[in-house]
Subunit: 211 residues, 2 copies
DNA sequence: GTTCCTATTGGACCAAGGTCCAATTAACCT
DNA sequence: AGGTTAATTGGACCTTGGTCCAATAGGAAC
């Protein structure tokens, strides 16, 4: 069975790193091993999709710190932690920060593979959502400020005439802007435009009372 | 400072239970103490909003099992776990199941209060969303099957004429159903209807290619 | 200065949505 | 059998949205 996503493995213990790499490769994953957190940070390409198997205790930068660094960089790579000495506060911190799992040695091959499988799935889903959101926001920034104003009024369901008075102009002008918004956003229908706004987190100019 | 939400505390150690109750009360929370998980399950009213402070190790039903029970009952009460002997697998399981925090003794008053504060916040937000979703779904069930069909086509942005041919009827009929859907759902505008569908997780009959 | 972009508006016109009144048919419950 | 609800359709009518063509005005860039 062949999969496309890459599993990044970071562990300072060469033996463990090798063993993990072999296990994951034999399960059909593409694996990129790193012997130190800094090496990973240096050479990691955020564009490549995948998940991260990460040792907690490492010299230099520990696993939790690396997790924070990645979060700051907006890299929402799903992480599976592995650790030698279980430490509850560390595990809780990791999970609160969004880790997929936190395994303590000794763990079975199956445990790791299941965790990696879930991580890959989450990573893929997150990447998909992220990609769509970025695409929409890119289109949104191509709107002029006036078009953005019209946009926010339009998705609140107001009639063109009302939008016009709100913006101090006439219905005809609103129609033109509205058409341009639809075109620039790539929305085939009004319903699509509303859904795009929802996913971008754009609030209607006049929120409805019941929502 | 007075707050409205109740903090449910479950701990089999009378001393700890008393101390926690006093601490939380002095911080302005209404507190409902329980000396056993079963007592909590018996007398807990899901309608009362609040969060749960829960000891992990207890006779009869342990904290994690209680968490599972509550999840099955759809009670999404936010949970803060406290435990004597840190156990990484347990803490990870608890966090994966949605716990807000997992504190190990000894913890400071501040730590607990901060965790409870976050839990209360999450509980309130979840309750709000839940309430709106239930209200909408209740309205949705009041629709006839035909109206539901029309609903799913309408929110995909299709023209009434196309919906009619899809459903094997005429435009006029669709208009009538459409108007009834708007009325029954309490949607003031079409945009509201689309947002309602999004939040209820109702997929359009014809998904748009870019969304 | 000329050009490009943005915002604005007018007019004409068609298609589509929404509403009011009215009516028929079938299924289901009492 | 009689009443209720759901589903269906017709017609008339008005409002709105969308589009095409055309034009003006201000600001920024070259």
């Amino acid at each position: 069975m062949i999969r496309e996503e890459t599993v990044f493995v970071v562990d300072d213990d060469p033996g463990v790193l090798k063993a993990l790499t072999r296990l994951l490769r034999s399960s059909g994953y593409a694996v990129a091993p790193f012997s130190s957190p800094l090496a990973f940070l240096d050479r990691h390409d955020p564009a490549v999709s995948g998940c991260l198997v990460l040792d907690v205790a490492m010299p230099g930068l520990n696993g939790l710190e690396l997790q924070q660094r990645l979060a700051q960089k907006g890299n929402c790579c799903a992480i599976v932690f592995i650790s030698g000495h279980g430490d509850v506060p560390k595990s809780v911190q990791a999970m609160k920060a969004g880790a997929v799992d936190f395994l303590t040695k000794p763990f079975s091959d199956v445990e790791l593979l299941e965790a990696v499988d879930i991580a890959i799935g989450k990573s893929r889903a997150a990447r998909q959502v992220d990609h769509e959101r970025k695409l929409m926001q890119q289109r949104f920034t191509s709107l002029t400020s006036r078009e953005r104003e019209v946009f926010e009024h339009v998705i609140s369901g107001q009639l063109n005439k009302l939008i016009a008075t709100d913006l101090g102009t006439v219905e005809k002008t609103v129609k033109v802007h509205r058409a341009r918004v639809m075109h620039k956003m790539g929305a085939a229908t009004f319903a699509d435009l509303v859904r795009m706004a929802e996913r971008m987190g754009i609030r209607p100019a006049r929120p409805s009372p019941h929502l």
